[in-house]
Amino acid sequence: MSPGLIALVVVLVVTTAFGLWRRNTDGRFQSVQSPQQPAGERLSADELGAELGVRATLVQFSSAFCAPCRTARVVLGDVAANTPGVTHVEIAAEDQIELIRRFDVRRTPTLLVLDAAGRVRHRATGAPDRAAVLAALATVAG
């Protein structure tokens, strides 16, 4: 086998596995309770550059070159507009390097669901569907 053929097969196998894995994990909210991200870590209104939602805040880290950010913006904006006490705040990740290092944001969109006190309760990467956002919000109510 030529090196080119070997490279072709390796690339197709690796990228297919990676793509399938991403398709399975994108847009899924996870409860935040890991050692890297201690539950209860807070984001303040100052850090956000916007007031916290009375009930919950949907934080979206976006970047300039990010197609799914637009989808996420539409979904989260719609949920916020139709759910009393819930706000949507979008942050330009490349302008907030300190913040993305602190929250270990590696790709966009990264989404955080904050409770009324600004504590991070759920986290997702990739564009979620409406049902996933509502399910995550439901556990934050109170």
Binding site: A64, A67, R70, E90, E94, I97
Partner: protein, 151 residues
């Protein structure tokens, strides 16, 4: 309520496009780069580099595969369900150009391993885009900013 902070709105200045155009282009790119890998053809890689360059430097409207899509494919399809910003796929064309140039340097400079690796990486990115609508270069952008920023 929806709030946009900082410069997000400034980054949304690109025009909106049919997202199936760049994916169609990525599928053709995948096939072209697969042929390049199998034949080590410098001239075919040079053609692909020009295609990338037109898309990145002039814009997506000048990208030849995009032109084929709009003239021949799009008229046969239903209108797109949603539109997409043009900045991410244009950025991806620039990343593709960089890898194509590196590949050409490898093939023409007699370092065929460099050529193979550069073309293989570009092929992987094009395939991810075509098959999964995933923009590898776009994700590298944020990681790069995070790694190299001193803020």
């Amino acid at each position: 309520m929806s709030t946009t902070t900082n410069s997000v709105s400034a980054t949304r200045s690109g025009s909106l496009i049919d997202p199936r155009g760049p994916r169609f282009g990525a599928a053709i790119t995948t096939v072209v780069l697969a042929v390049v890998l199998l034949t080590s053809s410098s001239w075919l890689l040079a053609v692909q580099a020009i295609v990338f360059g037109l898309g990145a430097i002039v814009g997506l409207s000048a990208q030849p595969y995009g032109v084929v899509y709009r003239r021949l494919v799009r008229p046969r399809l239903a209108p797109p369900r949603e539109l997409e910003e043009s900045a991410p796929p244009r950025f991806a064309q620039g990343v593709g150009l960089a890898f194509a140039v590196a590949g050409l340097a490898g093939y023409l400079g007699g370092v065929s391993t460099l050529g193979t690796i550069a073309v293989a990486l570009a092929l992987g990115a094009a395939f991810l885009n075509a098959a999964f609508n995933f923009c590898l270069g776009c994700e590298m952008y944020l990681l790069g900013r995070r790694l190299f920023s001193r803020q």
